[in-house]
Assembly symmetry: C2
Homo-oligomer: 255 residues x 2
């Protein structure tokens, strides 16, 4: 457990969920374009993920990179995702190979496959619909942000096949703190609780794999993403389920 | 047959094969970064495919875009394929939507899936191996050029799903004039003759489809790419087969 992990985009929402859950489990080096909003117990590098040299320097003595940095807005314009997400992710993979990092965990997104929902919604958000995406399907992005995430997955496939880098791509669902989205079936179908998020990234840091695409959601009754691969290969064992919350956002009673 | 077709990358090898075969069948507008090496009978625009305004202007009154432009080198560096292939292809799709073009035919590449060969070569190049890729598989690029072509396919999926653009992605094999590569099993497996190339692009211009990924090869005995989708959806009817050529590059006798 003395592994050194570089976390890019540490100041974003996923970064906070990860550090909140497993911040004490590793020797973290945090990396973000913006200086930290609060004091951290960890080393912190302020630099841009498209800066080759800064990214290489930040990988010194690093075993695993958790790469979250990028423009997180589903509506982000092309020029931003081209630079920050596609070029930035290539920079990370390339630096990982050059510096001898073993594993890159890449934050992909449900938006890489959002258009599979078009012909089936809202049925696929319901518990009686057994439609599942399992990570073997071709991308069908719902926006240019989703295109950029699919490109990051394909880059990972290349760096795995060509350079033997271990790569896990996590298609993150709807990460919200405390409880699932209210009155939003899609959000409940792809809810990811903070603790399941931290646990899933811990499994991505710990498990042995070559190249994986997994879905990052809690074990929601409404799910249309398969969790089989995350469970089988990574040992993911989600604790939460959006169905356990009432529409008011409070946990249901145990009765 | 009075359709107006914009051909980007017209001066490249694929462009020449297309124009050599179906140059009289459409009203072409040719587009290339370089001025024409020889006189053309068609309108010719000299501009870069990353120039939004030039690309939009070139699409005026165009029905179909055949998009071949890009850095064609398998060994091309990242910065070049990021700009010329990924950004350039997004520019083409975006302009197509803005100007009301109905169909974009995108020149993808065998390099988008080159790493499927790694564990199976050279067996999969042999006629007794029935392994087939059919276009439903996730990309496994053999280089960053292949990554850029896979990204162009994913962009096409998005522009189809979101904007109802018809998009055909042709994973072009090994296009050589006259006869297949000699002493090169892989090249014989994915050979595409000039006449089959022109015919396949003619089918992509004529057929009705939504979004397709097809393989662009002749009907080679050695093939490990399925032609079913190209035949079924596009009406592709290839005439050539690399097995009909001796190792000396001459057609076999009919005996």
């Amino acid at each position: 457990m003395d592994e050194r992990v570089l976390l890019t985009g540490a100041e974003g929402r996923v970064g906070r969920a990860v550090l909140g859950g497993i911040g004490d489990a590793y020797e973290w080096r945090l990396f973000d374009r913006d200086p930290p909003a609060e004091e951290h117990d960890h080393e912190f590098v302020v630099a841009d993920v498209t800066d080759d040299e800064a990214v290489r320097d930040a990988m010194a003595d690093v075993d695993v990179v958790v790469h979250l940095a990028g423009d997180p807005r589903p509506e982000a314009p092309w020029n931003s995702v081209l630079t920050n997400n596609i070029d930035g992710t290539q920079t990370v993979y390339e630096a990982a190979v050059e510096t001898g990092v073993e594993t890159v965990v890449f934050a992909s997104s449900n938006h890489a496959v959002g258009h599979y929902e078009t012909e089936r919604k809202p049925d696929l958000y319901r518990t009686d619909d057994d439609y599942r995406l399992d990570g073997t399907e071709l991308p069908r992005p719902s926006n240019l942000y989703g295109v950029s995430k699919a490109a990051g997955e394909t880059l990972g496939r290349y760096y795995h096949d060509e350079h033997d880098l271990s790569v896990a791509c996590v298609r993150i669902g709807n990460l919200t703190k405390g409880h699932p989205p209210i009155d939003y079936e899609r959000g409940q179908a792809m809810w990811l609780s903070y603790r399941d998020c931290a646990h899933l990234f811990e499994r991505c840091i710990e498990a042995d794999y070559g190249y994986e695409i997994v879905y990052g959601i809690s074990d929601n009754d409404r799910k249309y993403y398969s969790l089989e691969r995350a469970k089988d290969v990574l040992g993911y064992d989600p604790q939460d389920n959006s169905a356990e919350y009432t529409m008011a956002g409070e946990p249901k009673s145990d009765v």
